[in-house]
Symmetry: C3
């Protein structure tokens, strides 16, 4: 590469990991931060440039300027939170990933269709409160980071609280089991899937309820919330790893049918709950880098198997971009809207 | 070494760690996988060879063929699960570890005897349901990976559920405290014990019960299960580390008396529960590499103290074998049945 | 440096990390251990010297001898536990840190004043049992490692158990949320704050209560205890990281006013609970290296951002001392009582 590419992302979510990885693979790096986070991103030497904006929602206003430079955008969860589907698609800056996947991910129905076709086991869904015959989780459509999830014990509990539900929602069977989030990377250049790492979320207040004795809980009338404020590392029993790998491959295979030919590539995450019969129930898919990978900026036990050096998901993305540049295959790892 | 040795193991449990470690120490590597896991093991570059078999129980049929090659078997939990004690002992392929330990580990009475003689604090055991005067855990004899454990509240609860118990079992006092699994490596070449890492198990559904509010649990009538599906990392308060070290040394010392002269060597794990008075109660010992070490394929805070490079337990085993080869001491780290 | 400095500490708490870090930065290392821990510290090659004493409280008797050598003390929690404020201040051996901070940390009132002036959100405190209108935690003044904390449900519960309270204590609102301990390092040489790592404590028995079904808990009448026996790793949602960074900066800034001009420098930890509205409630500050950093002897995802090599907090301290020596600034990173 002559003038090097700059890898840019919003200053949030997994930006540190993405930019550190980009730096380590030889790219220049740019964080678009807001007034609260600017100082933080400037404090790291691997961040070559910080552009401050007032609100992340203002990012589209920057695009004209960025388009004149040799920039590649690596998106993460905050892009989905702050930019509409429309804004995503209007952007023509080189963009790592396939925007066509966004439609299949954003709609809870389409996503369910995708995961079912991949043969994954999904929790039961209920169409209305009267159908509820067991504990459920009610999830607002736009709920992000676990905010707006409600634990509901039964139909009566649903009736009592239904008035709080102003937005569209789904009602999902509450699966009793342990959560596991599996971080994958699918390389279109090598046509190969890798398991990068795993985590479980750290959710307030639900992950602290067990610390309150049962009898005290009753007096306190606590109700669980599921706001994600962090992550903690987990490894998976090795005898279940082949199935975890297969789930990832099946999701990629079906994605090529539904939003082909490129389908889903790069980083993604399947969010599961594992029941005592050792079944994976799939709650959701995230079609890009997830925050749980932030635990592994210095590498994970799984990525070490393939790399023998600290390989985060952020760095793996930059590695793919570098490999694409070196082999003149950049188009294959960017969305088709990208104007080079 | 002229023609290098191949390190072989069953494709399960901690095989990736063992084979990665073997590769990093200069050995050739072989995974014996089944039809479900073959693809997974083939996907890693450090696995030089994969032999597929229909069921892990068929492994003994392979032995004749393997015996003609320069192979060392590194066993893990799946060997114990799929091969009988008899089959273990009939094998004459070079085998890392001392098979005589298997008898002392397999029998719950002998194991208890071993741990008591080492001065470890053990939970009380009850001979029958009528003796139960506190909450207990009932464990089936062959229970592996936490499957078949039952939490029992009192004698009445035991009576109500005793009919489910078709196999032999033990009744163990339920110790209230936090679990900690300590991973050791004892080197017969250096006559030195190392603490490699630590974990706690990730068990479904018991590790998710606390996320359900107490009042909702009652309506749901959930009963805890202890199926191990993963692990998560923990470190130990440093003021308790000397005692953890001593427990490991005591277990090794006694093993030389009961199944000497070699006794227990290589990797092992002491499974503890720590009570509020900072006592270690020892639940069980595993006389080989445990799955919790999979968290540390890229090294652990404890192994870093000794090695300053990523040293997993799997790699430590391969390092011991390499050191034995270089000093012509291979016999000292293999079972006496090994025909070289 | 001609004759190199020796870094010395008590054999406990985070001594392994401190001495490993010192060794890796080129210092000689000395552990002062007791009869129980001597063997452990001698087993590590990076510990150049071990002095055994009968009880850690006897450490002041050693000081005369140590003063004749080229030694720097790096203190940790056990210094605070075993040495009085008076003994601390009488010592004139070179001491990493500012002893003036000790007064502000040791008094619960002064500490609260410090944290309030830094703008941190603190849990409500109650002056007496009659004021209690919600669940609270009662903490004895000298409580260390979580020992002596009591969970109290309401005023009646307080009355029933108040007779157990022989020592001075505070009554603190019980905040429902997830704990997060943030490990900082402030460099006076670079005038820059770094986030080194994060953890949550592993407390017995409270972190195992959730594994007991609610209905069984009632029969068992378990009461929670908070004895810290370990730590486990966590990462923080990146959108909250700027605030975590700001909290650290504010604490350092105010420390320069209250115990200036040096204020708080080196390692410290802010102990928080995060509520569902994503607020950090600050429980306490520790003005030196905390045991949670022991999870990251081989580096953390956060320290990797700044160092691209395994940088523990212990090693970071040694790096600061080395940088001070190389630039002839040693005085700036030692307490003013230090006689060089």
């Amino acid at each position: 590469m002559n003038r090097p590419y700059t890898i840019a992302t919003l200053g949030s979510h997994s930006a540190l990991q993405i930019l550190k990885g980009a730096h380590d693979e030889g790219f220049r790096t740019l964080a678009i931060a807001n007034r609260d986070t600017e100082r933080l991103y400037r404090s790291f030497l691997f961040v070559d440039e910080v552009i401050g904006i007032d609100r992340y929602q203002d990012f589209p206003n920057l695009i004209g300027e960025l388009q004149k430079r040799k920039i590649i955008i690596v998106p993460h969860g905050s892009f989905v939170a702050y930019l509409s589907l429309e804004e995503h698609k209007r952007m023509t800056i080189p963009y790592f990933g396939n925007k066509a996947v966004l439609d299949w991910e954003a709609s809870r129905e389409l996503q369910r269709d995708w995961l079912s076709r991949a043969g994954l086991k999904l929790p039961r869904q209920f169409r209305g409160g009267s159908e509820i015959d067991r504990p459920v989780i009610v999830k607002l459509y736009g709920a992000a980071g676990g905010k707006g999830y409600m634990f509901i014990r039964d139909a009566a509990d649903f009736e009592a609280r239904a008035s709080d539900l102003k937005e569209a929602y789904i009602i999902q069977e509450y699966i009793i089991g342990v959560p596991l989030y599996i971080h994958y990377f699918y390389s279109p250049l090598e046509n190969k899937l890798e398991i990068m790492s795993m985590d479980r979320r750290y959710e307030t207040n639900v992950d602290s309820l067990g610390r309150i004795p049962a009898n005290a809980q009753e007096g306190m009338d606590v109700s669980p919330s599921y706001v994600v404020v962090g992550n903690s590392p987990v490894s998976l029993r090795e005898s279940m790893l082949a199935e975890a790998y297969r789930m990832g491959e099946d999701v990629v295979r079906v994605s090529k049918e539904i939003c082909g030919p490129k389908g889903l590539f790069g980083a993604f995450c399947i969010e599961t709950i594992i029941t005592p019969d050792m079944q994976f129930y799939v709650m959701e898919i995230s079609a890009r880098i997830v925050a749980g990978t932030n635990l592994f900026i210095d590498g994970s036990p799984y990525s070490y198997l393939n790399y023998s050096e600290p390989m985060s998901t952020g760095r793996r993305i930059a590695r793919e971009l570098k490999n694409a540049l070196l082999t003149k295959n950049l188009r294959f790892v960017l969305d088709d809207s990208s104007v080079l």
